[in-house]
Symmetry: C2
């Protein structure tokens, strides 16, 4: 009943007074909150923060926000968080969840759920194709002439680890090599350090190691170095991820570039589009890119090919004898 001019004045004053729509009240009526729950195993592993950032970005642009949960790699904690976050979010993004498939499905009965870095039957998922990358990595190693290649996987018991190991086994078998599967380790520097000691005690020399975590690779790098083994002259090293820390080795490490932030954005898109669990859930595959740096080279003499010993990296120290 008011004049248009008055109307304008009112809204202007309202804006000046800092009036904003009450999100809570709106959520109560509309039924959706504008929030998306993101549950990660941990923030300590630098693999996960970029994913969170990836979902955050498109979401805040749409006026939404991220409700964060850290499961600490525990299935119990994960379930608890789902129940806690579930009612107050429009959808849930589970990053590398540890719960069994059935649990995941039951979560999805209540609200849209999408997994990242893991698939579950019936659920939409974003899959970072590290297994595909591992194949590239193994082909690279085989192409350089490596035949005895160690695979240092983990985290122990993880779904993704099984996928990667499977890819590695297939690739190496196809290439006529032998894959030595080491016990999985947690993604920490010291795990690499410990494995280095184990490696130098091998009877038959291993000429290349593929490792699933940059942190472990860094430990390996240092451990092998102090044992007198040079990278890449004596042994080649490659990682199936490429975190910032990886830029820190000298020489630089061959690794898989993983577009983590993109994975997060895709998950965000899926969870907002998803009309709950459909019959044929959408799957997005995020390809990785092999980045060849200087931690991989042809194996040393005594192996399948002749080593080019000096061409790839500076060698300050005299070559030392292998331990075995």
């Amino acid at each position: 009943m008011v004049a248009a001019e008055t109307r304008e004045r009112v809204s202007l004053v309202a804006a000046e007074m800092g009036f904003r729509l009450n999100a809570t009240a709106r959520a109560l009526t509309t039924g959706h909150t504008g929030l998306v729950g993101v549950i990660v195993p941990t923030l300590a592993n630098p693999f996960f923060p970029p994913i969170v950032t990836g979902v955050q970005q498109p979401l805040t642009e749409a006026g939404g926000n991220v409700l964060l949960g850290v499961s600490d790699h525990s299935a119990d904690r994960e379930r608890e968080l789902v129940h806690q976050l579930g009612p107050r979010v429009d959808g849930l993004i589970l990053v590398a969840p540890v719960s069994p498939d059935v649990a995941l499905r039951s979560f999805a009965e209540r609200l849209p759920v999408v997994t990242v870095d893991r698939t579950a039957p019936g659920l939409p998922g974003v899959l970072v194709d590290t297994p595909g990358g591992v194949t590239k990595l193994m082909d690279h190693l085989l192409g350089l002439g490596h035949r005895r290649i160690a695979y240092l996987g983990g985290p122990p018991g993880s779904w993704m680890d099984r996928q990667r190991r499977k890819a590695a086994l297939t690739a190496v078998a196809d290439g006529g090599g032998e894959l030595i599967v080491l016990d999985p380790v947690p993604p920490r520097f010291d795990a690499g350090l410990a494995t280095a000691e184990h490696l130098v005690r091998q009877e038959t020399p291993i000429t290349a190691v593929m490792v699933y975590s940059s942190y472990v690779l860094l430990g390996l790098f240092m451990g092998l170095g102090s044992a007198g083994l040079r990278v890449p002259e004596d042994i080649s090293l490659a990682a199936s991820d490429d975190l910032t820390v990886i830029g820190m080795t000298q020489p630089g490490s061959t690794a898989l570039h993983v577009p983590l932030q993109e994975a997060g954005s895709e998950a965000c898109r899926l969870v907002r589009e998803a009309p709950a669990a459909g019959s044929r859930p959408p799957r997005v595959r995020i390809a990785t890119r092999l980045v060849v740096r200087d931690s991989t080279a042809a194996p040393p003499s005594g192996s399948t090919r002749t080593p080019p010993l000096t061409s790839r990296a500076p060698s300050h120290t005299p070559s030392r004898a292998r331990k075995n």
Copy 2:
């Protein structure tokens, strides 16, 4: 009016059916949501995730959750996020905010706000006492005999940087040394690499460098190494934080242990206790601990004291001449 037994049966069945209180509706009546907003500059810097985890932990135990915001170091973005998160949270934790004091105060008019790693007049805050740690670090360096000490600060323009620099200047002046303040750099590996080149070109040799970020230190480490300078024989290095990555240098790096997660928990406690902005806002100081490792030693000869050259770390390579 129902029998107690019936009542029990009802609630049991309700629980079985997965009925839970609707958090949104409750929030509408009570006025508080159980959510705490945490705004960090970025998740890419490993300094911040532990803080988020620190607030997350006590909060989820109390049935609450973290609403995350990433400001990307932008004051505009920060303000936007505050307005976006503000209405849906019980309180806001601003980690290393970049907004001016006045803006921070205005945020606090609407809801409890606590800052972390920065203080603002009138606002409660958790302060990680890196300035105090920097003093310890400088005293350590001075005690070893260093007199020309470089300070490599950053991030450019940051509040915390000014505090640390001030502490460094005072400590070194008191100890009769000279602090060479280098231009602040962003917290990245390559910044350290670049600074290393700069350092080896100094006319008067600098015998120790204090750097604000582990990442920068790592770059410095590598850059100095390839320039032929040994750590700690030729030059000492120390960092004013102690991220996981720091365990990755060989020799290990002297640094400040910073209880980041504790800082997060304290902030969480403050924000939940705070009855909005009080007249004398509580301040919590989180002390750091100096961790002396092997990247610091007495300066080489030509400086104030005689260097013990070999005692602290293995030296594989022959000593090389300084560039200057």
